[in-house]
Assembly symmetry: D2
Homo-oligomer: 408 residues x 4
């Protein structure tokens, strides 16, 4: 359901043109291997729990991404292919109602069987058959599905890490995923700001590489002049908001945000813990003291919005972000925008199950722009649209509110 | 929290210019009298119940609109004014947290005291003092507040009728508010459609009359070409959607819409009842058979969206609606747009309690455009922005989905 | 669903024997008039609201008790009787599923129509026809139903006052029902205690007067020796529990009681308010300072149980209470016992709708014994079994924990 | 929180007398080994999930029973003992608030760490130190604690299997725990019934072996004459209830039972599945067709009560059951009684954390009597009191309603 060019260290974006020259099968292997590489540090116990309704266990991500290739491609395009286990379709279908009623989302943490090993066997079975298919003469249409499937799997790679951090973060033994890497961004960007002049701009994807359907059609928008900060909000700046009573005063909050922090008793970002009088944060390298100069992360839209109002600023729209993104260097981060997730002009819903990929989420969610921390600059694109409900906070690896100054 | 030029038969929009020539006090009396005129057909029993969290009882609307003038104007601008009853501030403050913690919204239906008569006495007290104030030499600033207060009261007039219909509609004796008027629109508009060419358009209020802060600033947007239907969706068209299994098939629905119709067991618009094999609808004139040619109403955003997808169309954005609204005649109706409620460029949040009027609702709500059935054409404005959560259905008097054709 | 000979100042218990000598019609008029007398101080606004799911508005009590006579008696036993309004059966049926699906219990506060006046007209209609019936030659069976109906109405008299106090108690204007009477008990009883020797005792109703089916069959129980306090717990004693951190310490609480006080944020009895550093309590005569020597009231079973454990004592079983009740004088009070509500040996469920009167509540409820404050000593009986869920607190007029000493 | 001498094939009840002759350490090893033997068939994946709030994962049961010995015994009675890992106390404390705030019960399924292997290491650590302690000269007091700890662990053995079946039963691949044993009772007992004469009976534990505090004090009760069925209700009898519309008719149900089957959409016992027109049941040997002559199991108190009413019978009280239990042979089964869980006369709450063992559950729960399927006749005792909320259904291995005939 999510994000872009994600986590992998060496995955490159799959170009349509490129496919005429390179072997799609190499890319397939690279993406699939990367998913399993991410799971290498895990114990079997880590594969199972689901800590919250909107997250999924690693085992589920592994099985679901295999099921996606099996159900969307192998079943229809590999002659003679027999479904590996019909019961998996109910267990590992995420939400594609056209394909059958999926198991309740909240039940992903009670799947004892198939075991982790059986899921890896299932993945291998799918991979073996995908290789047969990819070595055969396949249509452009099937190639497109494969590329979509790989981008889909990359999205789940980031979700897997996001969800893993969430369940680990609830464990007071502070599990360490990789002791050498906390997966936090360390640089908040240049100081200063960029001013964008009023005028017509083009929005949406235009190149030859893969993009998701929600990035199309490319179209013109008219923007008023605005000034956008070059730097990411730091932990230190956010701490000033907290210390100023930011969570205790109604005025900067949206009404629903205020109700949310009351009912959830929220007084600081996710993963922050006060230990012996010092703020720490849980990371995938364990619990560490907070670095005031690093970009802050793991806050909800409600918090980002309140912080911006408190600063006398506001969040950018997704269009303002996209236009500015091309002007300056931006590293790894997801940033809340003030735009609700909606379709672009002349958005076309795909036929069949894949039409459910993006379109049916277009209500009550806010757009995030950017990319994950581990994606190299060249692997991210400014047109990518991530989206979450405004109360969601585990979004990995970094949220950084780039706020634009309100112009009187 | 609501809508515009509303219900009253003879109220005109209050112009800033006009105020230099006419007596504001006349307008004040006219609006205030209209609120009480709306309540004339009520029994005391009807003043009390709150059927759902987002609705309020007539007694509350009456008292809240008096409190608004007292708290926002009299307290600060009428020298020597003493608050009528300090306890009322807690009971009849809607949501202005800057003024004090309001009573829980869900508790508006348990207010036995003050009695209805006492509330009318309170209103008279406020009116008497407002007349003193309005007969004195008041600043432009205070005039602005009075005009806002009157527009606010007009919004509550429509809400009062909306909420009344809702609580009456749950009563199987089908109470009659006015036997001569069902308050349904009878004409669905011209057939055919209007095509708007691609280009830059101006959006937002620009005249000299009153408008709400969320209609500003007027600014340019760039629209792609689109074709918008001139006519409102009729009951007959919607019935075709129902009969085609519209509520039983996932494909046209947003994911959250689908979950909502399952959990709420929704299979038809609000107020529809099948009686002896014929669809009827509850109206303020009682239960009547549905007229297939009339515009349909009382559906949620989810249903409007699903209906439009089922038609192979989509809902217009609020900008598309606003631009088209000036091109053709439109009568009384509220129309769901596909735009989430957000601020316009350079929107400025007012200082103090009135800053809470609109800004803090800007998340998870969809914009409706148009006006209520009883507003004359000249009393409505195309820039008016109403907004509700996507599951709300009682919106009065008429919802009409003007759908624009999806362009391939 | 409730209690016994209740509230009325001059109602006497209806004896089966007595009925052969006196006119049942006189008793009918006396009970029915008393219900309306209780409503004399009310404004129409007070008749409508339902503050909590388990309470009902006065209008509903008035209509329901009329419906009971109409549906259980007139329809079947008055030749030619035509139902007054078929729609009332859905609105005013409490829970008798055999008779049709009643309206949702939580919807009793949204019944705008019939109006209060129409309900009184309905009552008069029922009364007129009941008088015709009672003046005719009726069977013993019908007499029994009438007597049950009157006892049922008396139960609703107490509920009406209980529920009224609850909705008034939520109104910060502290409505006054009767300024001369706060309906609190003023005496807590003699000091000292009574010791009951081990042995066989008879439990359950045995006389010739009316009793409810749940008081039968009279049967033997074997009790161990126990010592029971003669006096009611006072506000002062309970305040000591509060001041000792009673609500802040887990140890005296049942597990579910502890969870309940956390989730409901309960720190003192219902209706207590700290005003300017002094505990006050809301009464039907308004808000008054708490009298330390008066019996305390309006606490849940959980609180009563915790208080008793804190005292090093326990609550009596309903059998211990019943046996002791005959030994000493007891005034007006309801007392929580430690007995769950269950049937007596050889309890027989009545055929038809009246079989639902008591039997279907026999799970998850605790028995209270005693009577209401306004019932004279001679009007109460020691075998009467009231019952409520353990978290219910508004029970009127007085709760008094008579605790028995734990014997080492 | 649960049941008695439970599941193990060869564990015998621990007698206080016996302890003077035999080594307590042998029993310790036997019980502890049995717990781990029960887990032998599990995959690591099976150790983790928690399917419902009132169940716990195997890993949690393993760790909690080790923690119990560590926290209740080693910490206080083994000189120099250092707590293994202080963080475990929060994770594996079940509900003993005196010892510290336990982790939320609903979070037992998200404990990734410690791993299963680490939990077994923890158990070994505890065992090693317990052996040191048990080889030393320990007081009678400590012996008592050890015996309680072993009985506690045996209770968790049954819970472990119960909870495991529940989470497996939600997995549509129907995991097999032991293909040779479905853990269902196969015999429903003799036909006919036993009549117990009216009189005084003794209730509660009286021997020299271990019993729980809630089985004391032994005391006299007076029972009316009753006739109790010798045989367990069979699947066939229960199917007749279903086929007669038992789940569709209000009359036999308690009010809360009826609401529960509506809201939970319950139409048959837990674990029943209709496959190709035949009722099957999930067992620990997989999915098998239902045997009509076997005792039925896995129904809630609500269902047991409704079934009994439908039969024209009722459930026995726990006293009726206990008295009858000694008259005839009874095999392995848990039986719902109509008695709410409450303390016996002169029940004494233990000081300290162990006082929380039973007493704080004494509200809203119903008593079950009997024993688990795997307990030999000689290992069970008629005074044992199990208890659950009336809606709980997974109780393992067999529920069998022994109903007594209602005497006219």
């Amino acid at each position: 359901m999510l994000i872009g060019l994600l986590y992998p260290p060496s995955i490159f974006r799959l170009s349509r043109i490129e496919l005429k020259e390179k072997m799609l099968i190499e890319k397939y292997i690279e993406v699939r291997t990367q998913t399993e590489r991410l799971c290498a540090p895990l114990h079997k116990e880590d594969y199972i729990p689901q800590a919250v309704n909107y997250a999924s266990p690693p085992k589920w991500h592994l099985a679901h991404t295999a099921w996606f290739f099996e159900d969307m491609i192998l079943k229809d395009y590999l002659p003679g292919y027999a479904v590996y286990d019909a019961r998996f379709s109910k267990l590992f279908n995420s939400y594609y109602q056209s394909i059958g009623v999926p198991a309740a989302r909240s039940d992903r943490g009670i799947i004892t069987r198939p075991t982790v090993e059986e899921v890896y066997t299932y993945r291998k079975h799918v991979d073996d058959h995908m290789k047969v298919l990819l070595n055969s003469d396949i249509s452009e249409n099937v190639k497109e599905f494969v590329i979509l499937g790989l981008n889909h799997e990359q999205q789940h790679q980031e979700l897997l890490i996001t969800d893993l951090k969430y369940v680990f973060g609830l464990n007071t033994t502070w599990p360490v995923y990789d002791k050498n890497c906390n997966y936090l961004a360390s640089e908040s960007g240049d100081s200063g700001s960029t001013t964008i002049p009023e005028g017509i701009y083009e929005i949406g994807y235009s190149g030859d590489n893969f993009c998701f359907d929600n990035e199309l059609n490319r179209h013109k928008v008219y923007l008023q002049s605005y000034e956008i900060s070059n730097s990411l909000v730091t932990n230190g700046e956010y701490m000033a908001f907290i210390n100023d009573g930011g969570y205790l005063t109604f005025s900067p909050w949206l009404g629903e945000g205020w109700e949310w922090i009351q009912s959830e008793k929220i007084r600081h970002p996710l993963y922050w813990h006060m230990v012996d009088g010092t703020w720490h944060t849980y990371t995938l390298a364990g619990l560490i003291p907070i670095d005031l100069d690093s970009p802050m992360s793991h806050i909800s839209y409600y918090e980002a919005e309140a912080f911006a109002r408190w600063k006398g600023a506001r969040l950018p729209t997704e269009f303002e972000w996209e236009v500015a993104a091309d002007k300056f260097s931006w590293g790894a981060r997801w940033e809340w925008t003030s735009s609700a997730y909606a379709s672009y002009p002349n958005f076309r819903i795909r036929e069949g199950a894949l039409g459910e990929y993006n379109a049916k989420f277009m209500v009550n969610q806010m757009v995030l722009r950017g990319a994950s921390i581990a994606s190299g600059t060249n692997h991210s694109r400014s047109t990518y649209r991530n989206f979450f409900h405004p109360e969601i906070r585990p979004i990995f690896p970094v949220y950084c509110s780039t706020v634009s100054i309100y112009i009187k």
